[in-house]
Amino acid sequence: MELSIEVSQEPPDTVVLTLTGSVDLVSKQELLRIGQRELANNSSSRLVVDLAGVAFMDSTGLGALVMLSNDADAAGVKFVLRRPSPLTDRLLSVSGMSEVFDREP
């Protein structure tokens, strides 16, 4: 299943990437491209990645999230995960990354 990425703006200064589909070797470049584009061009101070629609993610996809998070840190932007699906949640915990990312409550 291809990854679709929807970019939306939430007031006052949050940009949201809503992911639907698989985050893996095929789609990580697209995720990075769009994420880095938003970090460079968008003046928002929060980058939220919504994972509710992620049907599959592996460590390559997770690596792309880590890379975006690192880039956001460097740009002074807060990186936040939203609604991890049970699958992504388990991937995060198995990888010891549960506590690493900020999550929306």
Binding site: S22, D24, L25, V26, F56, D58, S59, T60, L62, G63, A64, V66, M67, S69, N70, L87, R90, L91, S93, V94, S95, G96, M97, V100
Partner: protein, 641 residues
């Protein structure tokens, strides 16, 4: 006899002795020398007695004029009589009176011998025997006779030494062919390899290895080392090896077998000291019970874990402490895991600390085929030089689950970004009906390995999937030369999480890296029942309740972070259904692993139960979990059945 005559006779004798030395065996040479001595020294009798190794006797081996001495197998105790005193003092003796007061051997005085001269046969400080001559006429032997006999003794000594060496060398060959198992047993699920390497001069040592299957089907593997060298050590080794096999027939464990063997050694092999390590296992060979009598610990390597010395307790060597109690320890061996038994010749170097050798040994053991492992160990630890001590190695490997499946469904993928996705789909199809959680796991793990093959190996790779009952076996083989490293990535690392995920989620996994050819295979197995609800996460609690007031919760497999929550939910449901005062029984008999998350669940369930006037009772607590309860101080908290 003037000096020139003597010189001529000496020259004559030396020529005979030297030329014959190279062509004749010790027996023929002794006969030849004895003939010459009789002639040159004008003697009527000449005899060679040899020291019998391991005894305090001389035995007649060659004689002229005294042939009955050999035929009767005359034995002379060292320290008594004519020859016995020569052997004891290692000095020449001249006798001018031959009777029962000076000579023990009645053959000599019954023959009417009047004068005798004897010298020791020595090799360095070692006593080989005695050479003596006698005259029927009452004419004394003089100093020149003695010097000549000494010369002859040197020739005989070296011939005897050569013969012993040849015998031992032949015996070393015989040992390799005879005492060591001619072939290792054919055991389903186990691959073997072994080495026996004698020292350069082929002196026999007391090292051995053994592998056999008992009548109960148990597989035994053994290596041992009898202290000392030479035929005696080898013969003791043969007896101990066979005693150990015999005691193994009794059906006891290694500790008991070594206790009995020890008793035999103490009683029948006075003064022998033997180190031995003995391991026993039954199919599927995932547990090995090991007992060690002063022997170096076996090395084991598991897929995903570097080689380690087996964590065993070492008791005293056999023969070292009569009646001592012997212990045994059971250690796990994962599928694809390797177990190596060896003797100290492999690691001991005169110029090196034992710890250094042990460290080198550990680094030489990989998960390669046992034969490759033996080769690598010899290469890394012995190199091109000759070992200073003999070496015995026995290596075995448990078949990896992905090894033995010619019937698996396999497909090759090109190293393209889409390949992991295609491989996932293929694996899901090939695995057939699976519970949802197992499908998710399979998909994730295949994706990880396929992604590694695409991004690191960069070669076409094959994915093979096999469903075997409740297990799915997957192997991913590439042709690249990239190695495998497993480390815990930092939170900000972008890469390196794939294998940790495989390690965390697979039931079992490993790497097969042949080294000989490029490429490697990473395999994993998943516990994957297709019946719903899934047994492997989310848990695992199968409620079995015959009495509504005493419901039973019986989790299976692993109770950890992934499954604890589901167990908790099931427990809470049972408690709620039972109402106030319900006593929930948690049967842990089928739990393979339980960690702090699992403990937490048990504690919380108990608190819930107590709040409602009931309790949680534990049943069939495996030893490991009992220990866990003990060390966490929870032992007293729970009532146990």
């Amino acid at each position: 006899m003037d000096g020139r005559d003597l010189a001529a006779r000496l020259e004559n004798f030396l020529a005979v002795a030297d030329t014959r030395l190279t062509r004749l065996g010790a027996e023929d040479l002794a006969d030849e020398v004895l003939d010459r001595l009789r002639e040159i020294l004008d003697a009527d009798t000449a005899a060679v007695l040899l020291h019998q190794e391991g005894t305090d006797h001389l035995v007649a081996r060659a004689a002229r004029g005294l042939e009955e001495e050999v035929r009767q197998g005359v034995r002379v105790p060292i320290g008594s009589g004519f020859a016995g005193n020569i052997a004891d003092t290692r000095r020449p003796v001249r006798l001018d009176r031959v009777d029962p007061s000076t000579v023990t051997n009645r053959v000599l005085w019954e023959k009417g011998i009047q004068r005798m001269l004897g010298v020791p046969l020595l090799r360095g400080d070692d006593l080989l025997g005695v050479l003596h001559v006698g005259r029927l006429a009452p004419r004394d032997f003089d100093a020149e006779d003695e010097a000549l006999l000494q010369l002859a003794a040197e020739r005989v000594s070296s011939a005897v030494q050569n013969q012993r060496y040849a015998v031992e060398s032949a015996a070393a060959d015989l040992l390799e062919r005879g005492l060591l198992p001619p072939r290792l047993p054919a055991v389903d699920g186990i691959e073997f390899a072994s080495r026996y390497v004698p020292t350069e001069n082929r002196t026999i040592g007391g090292d051995w290895y053994d592998a056999f299957v008992g009548p109960d089907g148990a597989l035994w593997v053994v290596t041992g080392d009898v202290a000392g060298h030479g035929l005696r050590a080898a013969v003791v080794m043969g007896r101990v090896k066979s005693a150990l096999r015999a005691y193994a027939l009794l059906g006891d464990g290694p500790a008991r077998v070594l206790e009995l063997t020890d008793r035999k050694v103490v009683h029948f092999e006075m003064g022998a000291m033997i180190t031995v390590v003995c391991a026993r296992s039954v199919a599927p060979f995932e547990q090995w019970t090991i007992s060690s009598a002063g022997h170096l610990p076996p090395v084991s390597a598991d897929p995903g874990h570097p080689a380690e010395f087996a964590d065993i307790h070492t008791d005293p060597p056999l023969g070292a402490q009569p009646g001592c109690h012997r212990s045994e320890v059971t250690v796990p061996l994962a599928a694809g895991g390797l177990l190596v038994l060896y003797t100290d010749g492999l690691i001991e170097r005169r110029d090196e600390a034992l710890a250094t050798g042990l460290a080198r040994l550990r680094s030489a053991v990989s998960l390669a085929h046992p034969d490759t492992t033996c080769r690598l160990m010899m290469r890394e630890l012995v190199g091109s030089g000759s070992p200073v001590d003999d070496i015995a190695i026995l290596a075995l490997r448990r078949a990896g689950p992905a090894d033995a499946d010619p019937a698996s469904c396999a497909r090759t993928f090109e190293p393209q970004p889409h390949a992991p996705r295609d491989a996932r789909r293929f694996a899901l199809d090939a695995a057939g009906q699976l519970a949802t959680s197992a499908r998710h796991k399979l998909e994730l793990l295949v994706s990880e390995l396929a992604t590694n093959a695409v991004t690191h190996a960069g070669t076409p790779f094959e994915v093979a999937v096999r469903r075997s009952g409740c297990t799915v076996l997957v192997k991913v083989s590439d042709n690249g030369d990239s190695g495998i490293t497993l480390h815990q990535p930092e939170p900000t690392d972008v890469h390196g999480r794939g294998l940790p995920i495989v390690a965390a989620l697979a039931g079992d996994w490993g790497v097969i890296d042949s080294r000989a050819t490029p490429g490697k295979t990473v395999w994993f197995s998943l516990d994957a029942p297709d019946d719903s609800p899934a047994r492997y996460p989310p848990t695992q609690g199968t409620a079995m309740s015959t009495d509504p007031d005493r419901p039973i919760l019986r989790p299976e497999g692993d109770v950890d972070m992934l499954t604890a929550e589901s167990l908790q939910a099931q427990g809470e449901r049972l408690l709620a259904a039972g109402g106030a005062g319900t006593c929930l029984v948690v049967d842990l008999g089928a739990v393979a692993f339980l960690d702090s998350a699992g403990l937490n669940t048990l504690v919380r369930l108990r608190l819930d139960a107590i709040e409602a006037g009931g309790d949680v009772v534990l049943r069939n607590v495996p030893e490991r979990i009992a220990t866990l309860l003990q060390v966490t101080g929870l032992s007293e908290l729970f009532t146990r059945q």
